[in-house]
Symmetry: C2
Subunit: 480 residues, 2 copies
């Protein structure tokens, strides 16, 4: 591992973050609520850090695949640290811990918030808060489609063949090519959602912020009551549609936009993800009907909530903690699965769940025919044994982090449900969980140590665990 080209590359990322803060400065100036100065100062400090990192490591351009892990992990960490400056310098969130938590929650597209009231915040800060989602989502698309398969993380090699864009041996050109193509898709979807929300009567500001939160499967809203604030069937269906789209691989969207709509249905992962979401909506709707909710309301409310949780967005229109316990545990199962690989959604990912279920079936058959060689297919593609092993290992590490996270939260005094489901809600990048961090609650009350642990889980979950944990091994830091 050579740290200098890593610092240099992260430097570029930070400069990009500084530049992106300028948009929030502009919003602050438009609304004139006195937050523009603080955000501008944050942008200046961030730019200075980034430029220093680049200048002090000039010439260190050679970035190998091994350095990729450090770039991604430190990249997200530094984005989150610098991203907390606008909260601190404007005084919107005076605590360093809280500001870092909120910023990390933004860039990891989690959407867990320490704010108890959203509306009192100035518009520049609110815009920044939602914009961190959007940048994070942009980063994740590139990470999951271009970088992950290259690094061989958690079975995501299986994604390699499907991924569009130029394939190269060097990391940088590959990322650049893929990024350009996919960001066009991401921008188009976001623009379409903004237009549709404005058409329904939402202000341009709220429309933009909610579109950022949707397409990144983030979940930060500009309203304390989230989407429930509007009490509008139109907004709910529009956002439901785009949340679902954000949970689908952007690689498929790219083909669709080029006219190859069939690609959706050809994807085994898409069919599985769609089936899971539709089945969950059907089951939960039946429970809601049994609670006496009329059909159109039950369907709308359920579809919104299932898609919001199933894609790990976390927008809320209803407090699902008042629903039947069975439907709550079903939502937790969806939290664990999360979106498709190559989407902005978090969690274990639909394709991994698909592989795990097939593997379970194969292991049973192996007992009967131990000599037979079994293969796992995703669509028409046969997976290598090592890929399957990676997926199993991912599941294992996921379970380990869940266990350790739950223990840590319990140690800090959380109750059972808050400890366990709060850990899942952060590890899977959802935001709202159950217990004291339910859809009607927030993360403000969590003790300082707990906020740092949850922020770590958000980053680990967002970067598919391996990417972060590998930095904790001694081997990684050996000189080559």
């Amino acid at each position: 591992m050579n740290i200098r080209p890593v610092i240099r590359t992260v430097g570029f990322l930070i400069v990009f973050i500084a530049v992106s803060m300028l948009l929030s400065v502009a919003v602050g100036l438009i609304y004139g609520e006195g937050d523009a100065g603080g955000i501008a100062l944050a942008a200046a400090v961030t730019a200075a850090i980034g430029l220093a990192a680049i200048y002090l490591n000039r010439g260190w351009k050679d970035l190998g695949s091994r350095e990729g892990f450090a770039v991604v992990t430190f990249g997200w960490l530094m984005m989150s640290l610098c991203g907390s400056l606008p909260y601190l310098f404007t005084g919107a969130i005076p605590s360093v811990t809280d500001a870092f938590f909120e910023s990390t929650s933004g860039f990891t597209t989690t959407g867990a918030s320490i704010l108890t009231e959203i509306e009192p915040l100035p518009h520049g800060v609110l815009f920044w808060r939602s914009f961190t989602h959007w940048i994070g989502g942009m980063g994740i698309i590139v990470f999951s489609i271009a970088i992950l398969p290259f690094l061989g993380v958690g079975g995501m090699q299986m994604f390699k063949a499907e991924s569009p864009g130029p394939t190269a041996d060097k990391l940088t050109p590959r990322i650049r090519g893929t990024a350009e193509i996919l960001w066009v898709v991401y921008v188009l979807f976001t623009a379409a959602e903004i237009v549709l929300l404005i058409a329904g009567g939402m202000s341009w500001f709220d429309a933009a912020c909610h579109a950022f939160g949707t397409m990144a499967t983030g979940g930060f809203s500009t309203k304390t009551a989230s989407i429930g604030h509007y009490d509008s069937a139109y907004f709910e269906w529009v956002i439901t549609f785009f949340m679902f789209a954000a949970g689908v691989s952007f690689s498929l969207h790219y083909f669709a936009l080029r006219g190859k709509l069939k690609r959706y249905w050809q994807s085994a992962e898409f069919r599985f993800f769609l089936a899971a979401i539709v089945a969950a909506i059907a089951i939960v709707t039946i429970y809601r009907l049994a609670d006496g909710i009329p059909f159109p309301d039950a369907l709308r409310e359920t579809a919104f909530q299932v898609v919001s949780i199933g894609t790990t967005t976390g927008y809320a229109t209803a407090d699902f903690e008042t629903w039947h316990v069975f439907t709550q545990i079903l939502l937790v199962a969806l939290m664990l699965m999360g979106g498709m690989a190559g989407s902005t959604g978090g969690g274990i990912k639909a394709i991994r769940v698909l592989v795990l279920l097939q593997q379970a079936r194969i292991e049973l058959h192996k007992l009967i025919h131990p000599q037979t060689v079994y293969v796992i297919r995703v669509g028409r593609k046969v997976l290598q044994q090592s890929t399957v092993q990676n997926v199993l290992a991912f599941f294992l590490l996921y379970a380990l982090l869940f266990g350790l996270g739950s223990l840590a939260m319990a140690m800090l005094g959380m109750d059972h449900i808050t400890s366990m489901i709060g850990t899942i809600a952060c590890l899977s990048n959802i935001g709202p969980g159950l217990g004291e961090v339910g859809p009607a609650d927030n993360y403000a009350f969590i003790p300082t140590a707990g906020k740092w642990i949850l922020a770590f889980l958000m980053i680990a979950g967002r970067l598919e665990i391996f990417t972060v944990l590998v930095l904790l091994t001694k081997t990684y830091w050996e000189r080559v």
Copy 2:
């Protein structure tokens, strides 16, 4: 699969169960509480079923390894069904569901009870209840040491080399040889515990019943307040010692009795299991001290409870639901791990957890050195790749059953904790869990469907999942 030799073999097992009921008839006669007749009738009916099964399938002696799965699963199922007859025929437990639940809980050494008051039951029935534990434990030792490695279930091939007794290609002689050796150990331990409990002033009846429950890591007590009833430090330490012994591989005990005491320490699994138990006792004791409990009491109470849960026994002296949430989640982690392979303890097993942790570490290193070939060692032995894969698959199926079980229990109206931890408590064959099935509660209130589901989970967990689930595949039933 050929079902006829399976039915014949299970027939022998049932006849054995019928004969073992006679001991309870004798106890019933001694106490003269009117239950001897009912138990005798149960023995007669059981014997008739067993003899019919043997007679109708006479000549079908050829039992292949494939039939082994059916013998074990149907064997435990039929033991549980016939074992419920004494409860029904004496009127001690009038409901078929409840009697089957209690009987399954006995034979699977789980110890979950539907009884709200234990003391009013006649002695013959109480003796039968504890004796089902002891028979189940006897069965499990043979199953896990002789049959599992032979069937290649869930990575238990790794146990093959360590297992004593004659190795043969045919299932039957191998089982017989191993069984005889290990049962001697089992009987010796049980006898030693009975003697020590009587020496402390316990009645011979209670001493025998509690020893049965201890050595099988069962947990049924003859007292509603379990071991807490006695409020005796002596009894608690004696039972703690034997519970721990029951959670250790009987194969190691066998060597120890032959003078090879070093074998304990040579076993990587033993060191790991011991370390986990000691660490948990240390941590929980600190929490209890912080609650103001004086040291000797805190240590005794904690050691008892940690060993009881960590070996999946389930005896109680304290309501750990009143302890700190962190210590409760720690106990749940111990529930998941369970005892050593080859012990009477349930759960995932210490050796599998050891393999899983090593595998997680290897996967991280593989990212850095993808070309290196890594091996997992248990002690000095290198595991085959297919064995590791089996262990991963076991973990996967365990997680799946946990998820489905929790969903099912929630559907039936249990709360979150009761659904999830109740499922773990049955799947890992412990008994007491958290929530409404905590150490101070029982399973009486669970709806009928829930009791059948939990009984299924007990059997699946007890037989290492694969053995049961393989019977649900179509391939298994194909003619060969």
